[in-house]
Amino acid sequence: MCLAIPMKVVKIDGDQGMVAAGGLTRKANFILMKDIKPGDYVLLHAGFAIAKVKPEEARQTIKLIREL
């Protein structure tokens, strides 16, 4: 039930906006987030953005494993 996926912010206007991933675009509610802009990736859960994806951390995680 806590399923959530990273989606790219396409449009944002106040609390409402559009996000996209894997060819799918859908409405998203941004009321639980601040400082989000188009191009950011957010974690979408049940129609709400609940976290911002940190690209640098994603890169670091992969780098760290490659160096094991």
Binding site: M1, C2, L3, A4, I5, P6, K8, A21, G22, K27, N29, I31, L32, M33, K34, Y41, L43, H45, A46, G47, F48, I50, A51, V53, K54, P55, E57, A58, Q60, T61, I62, I65, R66, L68
Partner: protein, 360 residues
């Protein structure tokens, strides 16, 4: 998809597996609980148990909201669905859960107004479009979901929507993990903490698991690379501490805005966990200030105290004390098509995962 495919990479997975093999001490058993139902599903789907050395045991935890929602809640939801001019709105995974004598799916087939929604925003839309009806949302889920329900209640209050309410069975994770560790049969060395719950709560609420109970904690993502890395991190901890593997998503401080929304609308209460029992401070109820949105106060319905099947061991499974194969109903009287216990009902349930993917 970005931020998903990279974390399913075979090259990274093999690297992690060989590292885990070299770190593992053959003389001991590592017992780690994957807390979240989504973890359980991913572990089976990607065959992670088969890839790990045999002395690393993954034990499924209580993080399947549908599984721990008491029967009585479903009976209440079904009773409310039977009232005139009511529309029940719910996430899809509640539909097939058996109450004492029926399911929401059966009730819908019988003509009751039960609509599956993807988001609480959809439920509010339905309320706006049906002002002559009462729209009830079934509020089930943990900290990941709760802020979205809190937001819907705040939004209804702000917009003056009077025909929307929530039947609340929300639960919080840290208290349940504490109860598992406090049990005398608990043999858990560490937790793969639920990544999306942690994105909201931050890491502070889990500190006591390491300090008081000596259980290592790593907030883990849901892709194979994430879970294997989290297991490796647990194995390499010198002493039990709380760490984050899922750094691209989880801020150790959590999502403050989301927590503020939760605190504004809800307050802590004791809560009944199906199969586990009543746990102090493990639930959330709607504050007095928002009581007009509380469906349990708005609709007085009678339910009888339901009886669970005595031979079902879902409780011990949810606590990680037993596994589904220890149950004599498993795969015989209890199957996904005709479930007896809650762990067989949800696709995220431990028994359903064992049934679908095999039984080690």
């Amino acid at each position: 998809m970005k931020y998903i495919d990279e974390f399913r990479s075979r090259a990274l997975t093999s690297r992690l597996i060989s590292r885990i093999r070299s770190v593992a001490d053959e003389g001991r058993e590592y017992r780690y609980m994957e807390v979240c139902g989504t973890h359980t599903m991913a572990i089976f789907k990607y065959g992670l148990r088969e890839l790990l050395p045999r002395n690393i045991r993954l034990i499924s935890g209580p993080g399947c909201p549908v599984c721990v929602t008491p029967l009585e809640y479903l009976d209440r939801a079904i009773a409310i669905a039977g009232l005139p001019k009511v529309i029940i709105t719910t996430f899809g995974d509640m539909l097939r859960v058996p109450g004492s004598s029926s399911t929401l799916e059966n009730e819908r087939a019988g003509g009751k107004h039960i609509k599956v929604v993807y988001s609480t925003d959809d439920a509010l839309d339905i309320a706006n479009r049906n002002t002559d009806k009462e729209v009830v949302f079934l509020g089930v889920g943990f900290e990941t979901t709760v802020p979205t329900v809190a937001a819907s209640i705040m939004s209804a209050a702000k917009q003056g929507i009077h025909n929307y309410s929530v039947l609340c069975a929300h639960k919080t994770m840290p208290e349940a993990l504490g109860a598992i560790m406090a049990h005398r049969d608990a043999r858990i060395d560490g937790f793969l903490l639920p990544g999306h719950v942690s994105a909201i709560t931050g890491m502070k609420p889990y500190g006591f698991l390491a300090k008081r109970y000596g259980a290592g904690c790593v907030a883990a993502g849901f892709e194979p690379v994430d879970m294997l890395q989290a297991i490796l991190m647990l194995m390499e901890q010198k002493r039990p501490i709380v760490e984050v593997q899922y750094k691209r998503i989880v801020d150790p401080l959590g999502n403050r805005l989301a927590r503020k929304a939760i605190e504004k609308v809800f307050e802590k209460s004791s809560s009944e966990w199906r199969g586990i029992g009543k746990l102090k401070n493990s639930g959330l109820r709607i504050r007095k200030e928002f009581s007009r949105f509380d469906a349990s106060l708005k609709f007085r319905v009678k339910t009888v105290r339901p009886r669970e099947d005595k031979s079902c061991i879902c409780g011990a499974v949810l606590k990680g004390i037993k596994t589904p194969v220890d149950c004599k109903l498993f795969g015989k009287k209890c199957t996904p098509a005709d479930p007896v216990g809650s762990c067989m009902v949800s696709s995220e349930g431990t028994c359903a995962a064992y049934y679908k993917y095999g039984r080690r």
